[in-house]
């Protein structure tokens, strides 16, 4: 991206990108939560979210994205790793082997009968790591000149 000033103002792309961004993000979150029961999960959800972010990055530029979404993606990676490690470790304190997951049914307001599962927390860790990693890579390369 040697050409610093863009000669064309991509109004159509930018407007569309914002709308599509939200659609993809919502879809990705759905994919993430559905993961335990139907195709989806942390990897796919994470990749989907990051592809939405990449879209924004292409439509605008990395500086704009940084001001709109001031996220340190390396911190995100670390958080994800910690969550995954924490959910794998918790079972040790209950005298179970490493990575034993637990689940139970809960009655939640508005949502009704729902199964809560520690595997979701583990998957959340994966989700965050995938977003963090993809975005770190893309951002650092994008900023490198």
């Amino acid at each position: 991206m040697k050409r610093k000033s863009k000669p064309v103002n991509d109004v159509i792309l930018q407007t569309a990108a914002i709308i599509i961004f939200f659609i993809i993000v919502i879809f990705s979150i759905d994919l993430f939560f559905a993961g335990h029961y139907s195709p989806g999960g942390g990897f796919i959800g994470g990749l989907m979210t990051s592809s939405a972010l990449v879209l924004l990055l292409l439509a605008f530029d990395s500086q704009t994205l940084k001001t709109v979404l001031p996220i340190d993606y390396r911190l995100m990676t670390a958080t994800g790793l910690l969550i995954a490690l924490g959910t794998s470790l918790h079972s040790i304190f209950w005298g179970r082997p490493f990575l034993t997951h637990a689940y139970d049914k809960f009655h939640l307001p508005l949502l009704g009968e729902q199964t809560l599962h520690t595997a979701i927390a583990f998957d959340l860790g994966v989700y965050l790591v995938v977003i963090g990693v993809t975005m770190t890579i893309i951002q650092t390369i994008g900023e490198s000149e």
């Binding site: 335990h36 999960g41 990749l47 794998s88 997951h101 990693v133 650092t140």
Partner: protein, 813 residues
Amino acid sequence: MSVLHLAILLPLLAAPFIPLFFWGLKRIHTGWFVLIVPVLLFTYFAGYMPTTSAGEVVTKTVSWMPSLGVEFTAYVDGLSLLFALLITGIGALVVLYSIYYLDKDKESLGHFYVYLLMFMGAMLGVVLSDNMIVMYMFWELTSISSFLLIGYWYEKERSRYGAQKSMLLTVFGGLAMLGGIILLESMVGSYSIREMVANQAVIAESPLFLVAMVLILLGAFTKSAQFPFHIWLPDAMEAPTPVSAYLHSATMVKAGLYLVARMSPVFQESPVWLWTIASVGMFTMFWGSFNAVKQTDLKGILAFSTVSQLGLIMSLLGLGAAALHYEGLDENIYMVATIAAIFHLINHATFKGSLFMMVGIIDHETGTRDVRKLGGLMTVMPISFTVAVIGSLSMAGLPPFNGFLSKEMFLKATTKVASMDFFALDSIGLILPIVAFIGSVFTFIYSLLIFTRTFMGKAKFELLPKTPHEAPVGMLISPVILAILVVGFGLFPNVLSHSLIQPAVEAIYPSLVAGGEEVEVHISFWHGLTPELMMTIGVVLLGTLLFWQIGRWMGIYNRIPHRLTLNGMYDGSLVWSNKAAYRFKDNYMTGFIRSYLIYIFVFLSGMMLFTMAWLDLFNFSFENLAEIAPYEYVLGAVVVLAALAILFMRSRLPSIILLGVVGYGVALFFVFFGAPDLALTQLVIETVSVALFLLVFYHMPDISKKEVRMRFKIGNAMIAILVGATVTMLSFMALSNKSLTSISEYYKENVYELAAGKNMVNVVLVDFRGFDTLFEIVVLSLASLGIYTMIKFRTTRRTKGEGAHEAQKQTRQ
């Protein structure tokens, strides 16, 4: 984990704290803190004496790697206890001595004592482990700590040379021993030494009996510096003198003797065992003493004398095997060899320890160990002189010192050889007493040399770097204690016989004492005019004569050219192997990554095709194959054509697009295969990576259009086709040989009951095989960190683009 285990590991556990003492408490010599460890351990192990002398053994087991048969079993019997006491007892004296020998302000004592404690722990582990793998681990640890201690003054070139030499030789032996251990395990099915002894008959019948024995003996011979592996020991004398006294005379070099004694019950019925050990030991004894005479360095004399004495004990352990060939314990005169071996082992530790410390004192007080410069120190260093005389005369085998008694027993054992009527001992075996006699004569000569050259004769103080005076009291404590022991054991040898020697000997002959009998050990001064007494007198007479005329025959040492000596061969082989390795390396390490890849690819294909041909796996039979829909043919054709087209692309953009086509095609295949998760992932990944490729390739040059040679292309194509065909064959083979059912049945059945999920792939990822995923995200994070550092942290800052390169080129010109 029992107290016994903690005792073994105590030195290793204490070691990390030593540097703290060294840095934190500069005013007190670190050695005082270290001293606590061996003293404590010595008293602890001394508490086992009543147990072992009653013929009992103590076994404590800690499970380590049960699935591999590796248990940390601590095993205390007479033999191991004797060694444990030697290690801790001499260890305590050596540490005490080192406090005065090493200056706390000049030396890095933190390192020194860590290595020393590491050695102590390792050595205890060797002698107290029943499991041979554990023993092997400790065994190698002693080699490593010895390496570190020899190289302690690493700025000296000789130290590094000596350290490397000892490491190469002892580790070579250690590896051979590991091979032997594994062979023994394959025969018996256990790494436990006790199991091996119990199943001795099984081992004896194995066709690999001799191989295992030779491998084990290689380990023992290298460690105990037996000919021709003795060459490392003289060079090991570059270590600080307390280390030489401790490792290279009293303990570590005796690990080989321990091993031979320990393995005796397993092997000793074989004539090869007796002959190999007896003859190697006897020749080492002669060779060591012969070479000791020509040394000019005091420590050199002691080093060769240690080699010689180790050979003596080794040969006794070999001869001791003869006892098994006689029934009963009463009147079993052949057992005298083993008793003498154990007795001399103790004696050697005492007199050689004192001599080493005495040499250290001389070095410390005069600044040299060269006998050509020393002389006449008797008047200024009377206590050191007394210690030296006691140690030397004991080593020479003169009464009333303990060396006399064990030397007599040694001569007695060798003369008995002639009356043995098996293994051809009564004919060829006669050479053993003759060699023993000649070796003893040289031993007598170098023993005299040690104290006459240094303490008697003309004083040449002007040649010495320092003005000599008597050593400080603290430095004298340890050698004096040892000298007292030399005299004490000489006058009252039977103090040891019941408490230490007898249990140790019984441990070597478990089959003879199986019926609850006891080995009677009684050592006495006067046996009458026996052959061995005559031999001693002969040694003294001939030795005195040769010593008197020493100038006339010293010339024989210069007859052997350096190239033909063992040291010459060792040095030559090092140089040669270095050169050969470089030459070999330069041949295949071309620096082109392409060559390396070709090695990998060709080797992979070769191995695969060879194995498949070998196992006759080319009979493909395809059953229960899935159907192909017409649109799948189309998709397959697209993927193949896109992949092939990449090969002919000469610019980057079409290449990336074609790669994307392949990726999306593969994703579609995943859809057809019933893998929705994969398809989704592949689609998104493909999108993101195409974006990534575009981003990066934007900054890179186009693929060069330079003409590439046809030969280069054809060669690459050949290898490519070969690998491609191999992979297809591999896939065919896997399809036609489905011998195992998939473990996935478990996942399918339990996905809802155990994990409360319905998407099996996701449940496998986060639950059943969560460990994989955990590591995967770690790898991903590492990759992103790597990318981040590569871009953000640069060693050289360049302003912008290619202009910077131009500018740099110009400045270089």
